[in-house]
């Protein structure tokens, strides 16, 4: 079995994470790879379907050295798209999502579909017909225990399967979706990099809608470079997505960030950050925040400061209202988007019990919808339905939209780079270039703890939703370990369209953490233990 490890040289030490995967490993057999991924999967439950054969239409494309997992709410023509829901248990889409099409065209190998919370609703990847995802991370405190018997913690959600697949080394990168933190939170919990791009950059055609105005396709990967390569290959204008940013808007945003980017060279070991202004939002350090997380973030800030970056306190005063506004808007849109799952045209239909009253169509619909949707989805449909009723619309839905507008204004007045989506943005020379905050208020919770029930899961999103409401790019990169030995992530938020900038800063943080935490980083990808675990299993 140790031989296998050599077949997968890309499972290299974390210290090499920043190195391009394309040069760090050679081409390998997809079939053997699938077997390997399946065995790793037994202990993570990250992937839920695998291709029977590997048909790569472009084996010499720029992504041909890349293995990718696709979140199960992104449509694929050759694999089922269940959204982890009983409603779509047997559903296979008649088309590929644009993002998948682009990956295939680039020559990427798709290794399978990744587990997720049902329709993307959840923060811990426990709401799934496929069962919960188990975080592959093996804490240094548990070094003596085999990997397969490690502490069972959540991988985060809703893109938990995508994050776990990357963290366990089943693939180089994974596509996820992020509606209110669904990429950033699992990236943080699993100790990998996760990018939620600016809203509208990656086509949503083929992405099963949860909340259209918030849903973003994003990338999870081992390193910022991997994430960047994948992002660049799928971030293009798609006329099939009516919310796609036009080439013109993309150009405008790019031009605005250009001058700053040209001064930063993230590839240098000691990049000069003296032109960079980093905002530290006071609202993002609530009392619930684990103190060791604050310590880790402070460490990151110290390093950035030592490279010349200016640290500037900023205020985003509407932040406290963001979570409530987010849940109203996301649930309202979800109640609308999920109305189509009625068992009439496609998907699962649960036959009525004999003698049931069929005189009202509502009874027939209610039966299928009650049986097909999980508890969390039903809860949100009910909340969203209520928010849209004539009596509640003004107080809930419209009020939430007002809050959303305020949050956007907060960000626009904090940033120095103007918002390319506005026709006449006012200049803000005193603004900051990026905002930095912890990705989550804690490390991954145990799957059997209280944190996975009650209000806990909703609070996980508190740091992530403002950027979602404003449609801003955010990258979460690993930033060391908390006292419990589990990974911490920091988030870099930028103005709309500053995706390259946030990844650039992300890379600087990644490089500097590698330097500091060499031995610790080894532990994050405690690969030898993984292999031992496999040996024990076989």
């Amino acid at each position: 079995m140790h031989r296998l490890a050599r077949v997968y040289p890309y499972r290299s030490r974390a210290g090499c994470r920043a190195r391009s995967f394309a040069t760090s490993h050679s081409r390998h057999s997809a079939i053997i790879h699938t077997e390997h991924a399946q065995s790793l999967n037994e202990s993570t439950n990250a992937l839920v379907s695998f291709p029977t054969k590997n048909h790569n239409p472009n084996p010499h494309g720029p992504l041909s050295n890349l293995t990718v997992a696709i979140k199960d709410n992104i449509c694929t023509i050759h694999l089922p798209t269940t959204c982890s829901s009983g409603m779509l248990r047997h559903f296979t889409s008649p088309f590929d999502a644009t993002a998948v099409e682009l990956l295939k065209a680039g020559g990427a190998s798709i290794i399978g579909k990744a587990n997720c919370d049902e329709f993307g609703m959840g923060s811990l990847n426990v709401n799934s017909i496929h069962g919960p995802v188990v975080n592959p991370y093996h804490s240094p405190n548990e070094k003596s225990i085999p990997w397969a018997e490690r502490e069972r913690r959540s991988a985060g959600g809703s893109s938990g399967g995508s994050a776990a697949a990357v963290a366990a080394g089943m693939c180089d990168a994974a596509l996820g979706t992020d509606t209110g933190g669904s990429i950033r939170l699992p990236a943080s919990y699993c100790g990998i990099t996760g990018l939620k791009p600016s809203y509208g950059l990656i086509s949503r055609w083929g992405v099963v809608s949860f909340a259209d105005s918030l849903d973003c396709v994003g990338v999870l990967g081992k390193s910022v470079d991997t994430v960047k390569t994948v992002f660049e290959s799928i971030s293009s204008y798609d006329p099939k997505d009516p919310t796609a940013a036009t080439p013109h808007t993309r150009e405008r945003a790019k031009a605005s960030a250009e001058s700053l980017l040209s001064t930063l060279d993230a590839d240098l070991s000691d990049p000069d950050l003296s032109s960079l202004r980093i905002g530290i939002p006071q609202e993002y350090f609530p009392s619930e925040l684990n103190t060791t997380i604050v310590t880790a973030v402070r460490k990151v800030l110290e390093r950035l400061s030592s490279l010349g970056a200016q640290l500037i306190p900023v205020s985003l005063p509407s932040t406290p209202y963001a979570l409530s506004a987010y849940y109203v808007i996301a649930s309202a849109e979800a109640s609308s988007n999920l109305a189509r799952y009625d068992g009439v045209q496609y998907g699962t239909r649960f036959p009525l019990l004999p003698g049931a009253d069929k005189s009202k169509p509502g009874n027939v619909y209610a039966h299928t919808r009650s049986a097909g949707f999980g508890a969390e989805v039903q809860k949100r449909i009910l909340l969203g339905t209520y928010a849209l009723t004539a009596d509640a619309f003004d107080n809930y839905f419209l009020q939430a939209q007002r809050v959303r507008q305020r949050i956007k204004t907060d960000f626009d007045s904090a940033f120095r780079i103007p918002n390319a989506q506005l026709s006449n943005p006012s200049p803000n020379p005193d603004g900051v270039d990026v905002i930095l905050h912890p990705s989550a208020i804690r490390t991954a919770p145990r799957l059997d703890s209280d944190a996975v029930s009650g209000l806990g899961p909703y609070l996980q999103d508190v740091m992530a939703v403002p950027a979602s409401l404003a449609g801003l790019p955010t990258v979460s990169v690993p930033a060391g370990l908390a006292a419990d030995g589990w990974p911490i992530g920091v988030s870099v938020v930028g103005q709309w369209g500053s995706d390259e900038l946030v990844m650039c800063i992300g890379k600087v943080i990644e490089r500097t953490s590698d330097e500091d935490d060499g031995p610790m980083a080894d532990a994050i990808f405690g690969f030898d233990d993984v292999i031992c675990g496999l040996d024990a299993a076989t």
Partner: protein, 524 residues
């Protein structure tokens, strides 16, 4: 277009508009013998299918009546997960044409909303419509009869539903998604009509306008034009009564019967001291009466929500100007223009009547239309001569062949040359008619001058009396009795001999000349 704006401000504004009490229109009281003392108030909501080639938000073709079920359906139309809408600009253009034709104010900014309800003919569980900011509002239409003008409240774009039919034998509902997602224009009138007849005039005038601008077939029987009618009654001088809405009326005749029966039902209720409950009602064609579908209390909450996928529809003044310039004239404007050219009202009516029955093309492409044909012909020609050839000869011959104007095989160039040849006496009028008949019958695309030569139809020139003289001699020999009568001084019989000459010459001889030659020959 892609700047995503928060739509709540416009929503709030709109909510207030919706709750504002309806403005009461003052019109002189109409005394109807059927219901003395009572005033009838009617408003009509029309759903007209947009005659676009493709659906409102998807690439699939719109279907024609009789199409095999479930053949013009895309993944979006059947609400497959992961699909997104893309607004079809052709539908917008046709709705804008309609709005301009109805003197409506097209908004520079309008938006789409979702209306939710569960039904098997609505695959997404919601219909995309324009609840909070419609495409256009205000406007009016002058009815074709009487001096009545009906106000237009608003015009909005929305999706059509699928069609469900109940198979009683198999006790199953069958769903045809062909229609799902086709574009509809909802045209809401003010409550400005006062009798079933006015309602009928409104519907007919609106149908004519839609056909004229090419935005809809306007066909009630085939379901491309559906009416929901609001009816209320009140005593003269009193405020308006409670209205009831009658849904899905599919012919003008049934609409009038439904309104009449509803008026009597309301009066009966009111006269017996009861009140009219605000119901939504259906119409039973066999019993000629309405029946209750649901009361206001059971009216569903549609949970309207701004559609988060479709960016606001922004329309510029330049765009409106282009549409205004390129869209077809309205019937009133066309009539005025034709009369101005010197056409008689009768001739103008004939031309316009030809067009009112023509097929409306997809995406506003107008089929062959008689007025445009006339306009091209009348350039540099006498409009009155042209209209004579068109109405009497061209349309006359097509009608005799049971063909319509859309079958017309004669090009503008052909008929133009033909008219010119007759006007320049290169051929006689009789030959011209013969030539036209030949072109229509043989679907010939040759130039009339070439055909005239081939068929030896060129007029005999006045100088060439040899041929005419020969035909005259032949005619006299053929009709000796008539020739004798003329010789005796009965000049009226001469016409018969002229006719014979024309027959022998196959119309090539000039009748006036033949008369002179005949008289000359007979005098000898």
């Amino acid at each position: 277009m892609l700047v995503r704006r928060c739509p709540w401000r416009s929503i709030q504004l709109r909510l207030h508009q919706l709750w504002r009490p309806r403005q009461i229109h003052t019109r002189e009281a109409i005394h109807d013998k059927r219901w003395p003392g009572w005033q009838v108030i009617i408003g009509i909501e029309v759903h007209a299918q947009i005659k676009s080639r493709r659906k409102l938000f998807s690439e699939s073709f719109t279907s024609r009546p009789g199409e095999t079920p479930n053949t013009t359906v895309s993944a979006f139309d059947s609400a497959f997960p992961g699909t997104l809408p893309t607004l079809n600009p052709k539908c917008v253009e046709l709705a804008v044409r309609t709005a301009l034709a109805l003197n409506s104010k097209v908004h520079y900014h309008s938006a789409f909303d979702r209306k939710h309800y569960f039904y098997s003919d609505l695959p997404a569980g919601y219909q995309i419509t324009q609840r909070y900011s419609p495409l256009a509002s205000g406007g009016y239409i002058k009815l074709s009869k009487g001096d009545v003008s009906v106000g237009i409240t608003q015009i909005q774009l929305e999706q059509d539903t699928a069609k469900s039919t109940f198979d009683g034998l198999r006790r199953t509902s069958l769903i045809d998604l062909n229609r799902a997602g086709s574009g509809l224009m909802e045209i809401v009138s003010e409550p400005d009509m006062r009798s079933p007849e006015e309602a009928a005039h409104y519907v007919r005038t609106l149908q004519a306008v839609l056909r004229c601008v090419g935005s809809s077939d306007g066909n009630m029987e085939q379901g491309s034009f559906r009416c929901d009618v609001n009816v209320s009654v009140n005593k003269h001088g009193q405020p308006h009564g409670t209205r009831c809405e009658i849904k899905n009326l599919n012919s003008v005749k049934f609409m009038m019967i439904a309104i009449t029966s509803e008026v009597f039902r309301h009066i009966e209720l009111l006269e017996s001291g009861r009140s009219v409950p605000q119901d939504t009602r259906g119409f039973d064609e066999n019993k000629a009466e309405t029946f209750k579908l649901r009361s206001k209390a059971d009216s569903p909450d549609y949970r309207y929500m701004p559609d988060p996928n479709i960016p606001p529809l922004l329309i510029s003044e330049e765009y409106l100007e282009t549409i205004r310039k390129t869209m077809p004239d309205l019937p009133d404007a066309t009539l005025a223009r034709l009369l101005n050219l010197g056409l008689s009202e009768r001739d103008a009516d004939v031309l316009m009547a030809v067009d009112s029955g023509r097929e409306v093309g997809f995406d506003g492409e107008l089929g062959k239309d008689a007025v445009t044909y006339f306009d091209s012909l009348a350039q540099q020609r006498d409009p009155r001569v042209v209209v004579n050839w068109m109405t009497h000869e061209l349309i006359g011959q097509l009608t005799a062949r049971k063909e319509t104007f859309s079958d017309n095989p004669v090009s503008v160039e052909q008929l133009g040359e033909l008219i010119d040849m007759v006007q320049d006496s290169k051929i006689t009028g009789t030959s011209g008619k013969l030539l036209l008949k030949h072109i229509i019958a043989n679907r010939s695309s040759s130039a009339p001058s070439v055909l005239a030569q081939e068929l030896s139809l060129e007029a005999v020139s006045e100088d060439d009396n040899t041929s005419t003289r020969a035909w005259c001699v032949e005619a006299i020999e053929a009709l000796p009795d008539e020739a004798e009568a003329v010789r005796r001084g009965n000049l009226r019989v001469l016409n018969k001999l002229v006719g014979k000459v024309m027959q022998l010459s196959r119309g090539r001889a000039d009748a006036q000349n033949a008369r002179v030659v005949l008289e000359d020959v007979l005098r000898r």
